[in-house]
Structure formats: structure tokens, C-alpha cells
Symmetry: C2
Subunit: 213 residues, 2 copies
């Protein structure tokens, strides 16, 4: 069923989670079939974009019918590998880090923060939302080999020390909230979430919108 390795564009990859979430909701509502036109209304992505995205994963739909919701849930689930849980470690148990642990992607049982690290001795040895907090200097000792993914919530200044340490223990996917751009191995996939930048560029757009309107 999977397409002959048609290249999946980066823009499409960023939309997979949105598709997955939407079709999951439809499935829960008992909806059995969905047209691209109708899905477009729900998630606010043009129907042509939806059809092109979907077609890059194979011929998921049927002409004159639409898509089977169950099929879509299966296919996107496979793409996102939701069947086997992804264990994740988190570095930096300040306000943001602690909030992320508490939350722990509760809606997605396949995403688990299983351990956390900090250098603050007041936090080391404690638990946050059931997740143990270890000394970051014991990283290599504490980490289990199934963990390939890390979330970084440390101050920007500390990040340059954190990344190489993570790469040293086999982490190859990093989500970081420290905006400081950083050099990492070519095998490491890194993504930045920069809250200040998001807010500033949002404000820029909002304040300059009157010109466009």
C-alpha cells in the first residue's frame, strides 16, 4: 500500500501530526468516511493540499468515495510509529521543564518522558509527576539505551554543554527551548521552539497588519 518511496516534503511532514489528530477525533466520533473537502473545513488546510499530502503516502483514498477514516488512522499511526512507545529524557527541571513533565503528552500514550536531569541539588533525587530527577553529571550512568530522544529546557547559556553530552549517549532527536543556535552532529535531528521569537514576530505582524488591510 505504501507508495514507491515518493519523497515526502518537509511541509507535509509538519502536517502529519495534524492529520493524525483530526482523523483520530473523527474515528472517536464514529465517522467512517471523510472527503478531502470536508476535512479541509475541519483543519483549515486546503483540500488540494490534503489530497497531495495524502497521495505522497500511497493511494489512500477512493475516487467517488473519499477516504476511510479507519485506514487513515492506521496509516498515519504507522507513519508516526505510535504502536511502540517513544521514551524521552528531559534536561532542565525549571518551571518550563517541570510543566512539560507534569503534562507529559498525556493525550499521546506513545510519548513518555521517563527520566529528567538537572544540576540543582535541591531537585536531584526528587520526583516530578512520577518522573525521577537525576544529577545531569550522572547522565551516562542513568540513561537507558532505549532512549534516543531528548527535550532541552535549560537556559541558553547552558545548552552548548548539554548537546554534546546527549549526543555522547546516543540521543539523535532533540527538541529544545533554548534559542541559541548550536552545532550538532549531522546524524542529530534538532528542532527549536523559541517562544520569545514567536511572540515577537506575532506582534510585528499584528502591529503592521493595518498597512496590509
Amino acid at each position: 500500500m505504501l507508495n514507491t518511496r515518493a519523497r515526502v516534503s518537509k511541509a507535509t511532514v509538519r502536517r502529519i501530526p495534524l492529520y493524525y489528530r483530526a482523523v483520530q477525533q473523527l474515528q472517536q466520533q464514529g465517522v467512517k468516511r471523510i472527503r478531502s473537502e470536508r476535512l479541509s473545513e475541519i483543519i483549515h488546510i486546503p483540500s488540494a493540499t490534503i489530497r497531495r499530502d495524502f497521495s505522497s503516502f500511497g493511494e489512500l483514498g477512493k475516487s467517488g468515495y473519499g477516504y476511510s477514516v479507519d485506514t487513515l488512522v492506521d496509516e498515519f499511526g504507522k507513519l508516526l510509529e505510535v504502536q511502540d512507545a517513544e521514551n524521552i529524557l528531559l534536561v532542565g527541571c525549571g518551571g518550563l521543564g517541570a510543566a512539560l513533565i507534569e503534562n507529559n503528552f498525556r493525550r499521546n500514550p506513545d510519548l513518555n518522558i521517563t527520566m529528567a536531569f538537572d544540576i540543582d541539588s535541591a531537585k536531584i533525587g526528587t520526583e516530578i509527576g512520577g518522573v525521577p530527577v537525576y544529577d545531569f553529571r550522572e547522565l551516562a550512568m542513568r540513561v537507558t539505551p532505549d532512549i534516543k530522544t531528548a527535550i532541552i529546557a535549560v537556559p541558553s547559556s547552558a545548552q552548548p554543554q548539554v548537546i554534546p553530552a546527549l549526543e555522547g549517549i546516543g540521543i539523535d532527536a532533540i527538541l529544545t527551548f533554548a534559542p541559541q543556535p548550536v552545532v550538532c552532529l549531522p546524524t542529530t535531528t534538532i528542532r527549536y521552539i523559541d517562544l520569545t521569537s514567536e511572540l515577537q514576530s506575532l506582534l510585528f505582524t499584528a502591529h503592521h497588519q493595518q498597512l496590509a488591510e
Copy 2:
């Protein structure tokens, strides 16, 4: 000095905060001039992109010299309007909301969360990091007219009630952590930060990278 309203692309807008942060740091280090080539090494954006972005705000540089760091700090500061403080309200004082308030964009004195709202009576009336928490049902009563910006950190299911209420009191810029897409007024600028999607698409890329490599 400002260019004759050359259109600023969306991609450029998203980079302004990065530029601003970088040139601020250079200024603090006492650096007086910077070439696009050198700046490129620092922020990992190609020098051609930097020059094109900068030129959309006017002729900021000088051939054979580069850019004056002070000039850049001034210009980007003006673009981001950092001189007058932006007061922000936050809705939803759960783990994430509380962490955002505690943090309160401390590095950027012009960004201030000045009040917060929740519907949990245990939180109403308290303070978080010096910011008062009010009853969301008193939104119209409590909000001051200088506030045009809101951050939403409520569960997705609650968001459809929150947005119209905010628009009703004059909010026109919204940053939300609830991924549920939502209809809002054409005058409202909204931006989503979807942590689960970011993580899922990161993992997709990381897991499928071996094919590309």
C-alpha cells in the same frame, strides 16, 4: 532611512527576532561592525538571505564595510517596537501557564505578562510570580485597555469559548498552545505553538532520516 514600503515576506518576519537577539549580543560584546558573512556563521542563516532580509528594511549596510551593530540594534528595535512595553494577559494557569508567567520573558523587558485568568477557584485571587490571577468570568471587568495581546494555555476543549471572549475585549494578537484550529476575526492575528506536533514531526524526521542519508 526606512525603505519605500518594500513588502516584507513572512519568512523574513519570522527571522527578525533572531536578528535582533544576535545583534544585541554582539553589541553587548562591544562589537561595532559585522559582515553578513560573519553573522551567517553565528546564527546559521545563509549570508545571502541575511542581506536580502536586511535590505527589505532599507539600506542598512555599507559596501566594503558591512553593517554597524548599533544601527542594526536600533533598526530592529524600532521594528519590534521594544521602546514601549507590550502588556500581555494570559489565560489558563495550569503547569504550562504558570511556567510562562514565572518566566515572563525576563530577557525582554518590553514583554510583560501583567495579569492572568483561570476558572479554578483554588487559583483565583492568588499571585504567580507577582502576577495576579483573576476569575476568567471577570475578564471584561479586570482587563485594562492597554492590553491587546493574549497567551492561551488552556485545554484545547476550552479554547472555543476563550477566543471570542478575548476578541470581545479588544485583543487582536493571540499566541496559543491549544492546537485545536479555531475561527477568529479577520483582524485577529493568531499563532499556534503545538508541542506534540513539533515532537511527532521531529521523531518522524529522525526515524526516516536513514533513508535520506
